[in-house]
Amino acid sequence: MTHARWQRQLSAYVDGELTPHEAEEVQAHLAQCESCQVELDRLQSLKSLLGRLPERTVPETLWMSIRAQLDRPQQSWIAKVEQWLQGVVRRPALAAAALALVAILVAIPLVRGRLERLRAAELGPDLYIREHALASASDPFLDRAYLGLLISDASLALVGTPREETEESR
């Protein structure tokens, strides 16, 4: 048995819950294990401390209220919603927060869609230029260097880093 397991047995030993055989084993272990002896002393003093605490009786009203809850019929979901709404009306800040959350959840896809459409409007012409330049490569007498410039410029714009025009190129 591991040491950790001996320590778990100690609590049952103090409460007298072990079989005689198990109790003998624990006693044999305690005779040769100082740390378990210390733990046993601690558990025994704790038990003695708890034993000295005064007993308190449960108030009769508590039992009555529990019984009343148990006897009450199940509420329908409509009643639950009504109850929730009444709670919400009583707490306007909570209601406002819930409404704001719903509005945000509805607005996120709409805003994202609008942003994507605007972003597409920025990229669309560059996509057209690149694809047209690539299609124009079928013309064998078109200048390849200029085609390379158009395609590479449009590719740069598509990846979000368009070429800056300098005064030199004006």
Binding site: R117, G124, P125, Y146, S152, L158, V159, E168
Partner: protein, 340 residues
């Protein structure tokens, strides 16, 4: 009668433009031969060069200097030198995917390849059918003899002029003008070294240690008909559009939460792309300048070289991207049937 008359008038007008008059020469190659050599060049030669690009948009022009290296078949390395805003940018297309390194942000972006290997004879024929093409003469560019080729679509839209290296078929100089004749784009090599075999390591990207890496593959599997696109995305686009544009391919494009349907059209030379995005996914973009369409307000974004027209109809945002003038974009947009 008219079919033969229009190219003749166009050629006469083109040759009559001051400063672009070329001496007719019996030794000039045919337009077909020049286009074929341009189409075949990516399979024949490697080069390492310095190029200057100038693109005009709205009231300003931007000039870019770039070191350009090309290796057969379809591998490209671009190191941008100036202006300051692109200086140090590295773009490597290994023929399968493209890697972009942005040193100022220590950022790597990985996406689909935009370099195609050499084109076959069918594509050359398509070019010859779709555009008015004429050899204007010869000119020296950075000490090399070039053939000057003029190309314009049948609807008298933007025109291009190429200075094609006679020996290799590589385009050494390009100029594009809008329908009013204003130059909108030029590119030219200031030096070029041709090689038969540039080292492969030059076209292999090794991410710098600690760099943030982002994958940008936005397009889904391509579909080859408007009907298949409708089944994939619910968006309806027509088979043809004004100015001879025919449906080429479509895809559903995703970027994060944004999903759009793209449909690419070609007139045999140029590309036009229609995008349809549900308005529930995207607010109306506020970039570019406001323009008015019959269906309501629209916006026009001038990227330089091409423009994007955007408008809303039937619960969707439509966008048209093409190298077309604003008036032509509006014409195409008004002919595009809206989502039922």
């Amino acid at each position: 009668m008219m079919r033969t008359l229009i190219p003749a008038i166009w050629l006469a007008t083109t040759l009559a433009v001051p400063g672009l008059r070329a001496v007719a020469s019996a030794s000039l190659p045919s337009a077909r031969d020049v286009v074929a050599s341009m189409a075949a060049a990516p399979a024949l030669v490697d080069y390492e060069a310095t190029k200057v690009l100038t693109a005009v948009h709205q009231d300003r022009a931007e000039t870019i200097t770039v070191l350009e290296s090309y290796k057969r078949l379809g591998r490209l390395r671009l190191e941008f030198l100036s202006p300051e805003s692109v200086s140090g940018r590295l773009v490597i297309d290994d023929g399968v995917s493209v890697w972009q390194y942005e040193p100022s942000q220590h950022l790597v972006i990985h996406g689909p390849s935009f370099v195609h290997p050499a084109e076959g004879p069918e594509r050359v024929e398509e070019f010859l059918r779709s555009a008015l093409i004429a050899v204007l003469g010869t000119e020296d560019v950075i000490g090399r003899q070039t053939v000057v080729l003029a190309m314009e679509t049948h609807d008298a839209g933007p025109s291009r002029r190429y200075w094609v290296d006679r020996e290799t078929g590589v385009i050494l100089r390009t100029e594009e003008r809008d329908a009013r004749g204003e130059v909108v784009f030029t590119s030219f090599f200031t030096r070029i070294s041709f090689g038969l075999n540039l080292p492969s390591a030059l076209f292999r990207f090794t991410p710098p240690s600690g760099a943030r890496a982002i994958d940008l593959y936005e397009s889904g599997d391509p579909v080859s008909s408007p009907e298949a696109l409708r089944q994939a995305s619910g968006a309806w686009v027509p088979t043809t559009l004004p100015f001879g544009y025919r449906f080429r391919m479509g895809a559903v494009v995703h970027h994060g939460a944004l999903t759009s349907t793209s449909a690419s059209y070609t007139d045999g030379v140029r590309t036009l792309t229609v995008f349809v995005t549900a308005s529930s996914q995207m607010a109306f973009p506020q970039v570019g300048v406001p323009v008015t369409m019959e269906s309501g307000p629209a916006r026009l974004l001038d990227v330089g070289y091409f423009r994007v027209l955007m408008w809303q109809a039937g619960g969707a945002t439509y966008a048209l991207a093409a190298t077309l003038s604003p008036s032509r974009l509006l014409l195409v947009a008004s002919a595009l049937p809206q989502r039922p």
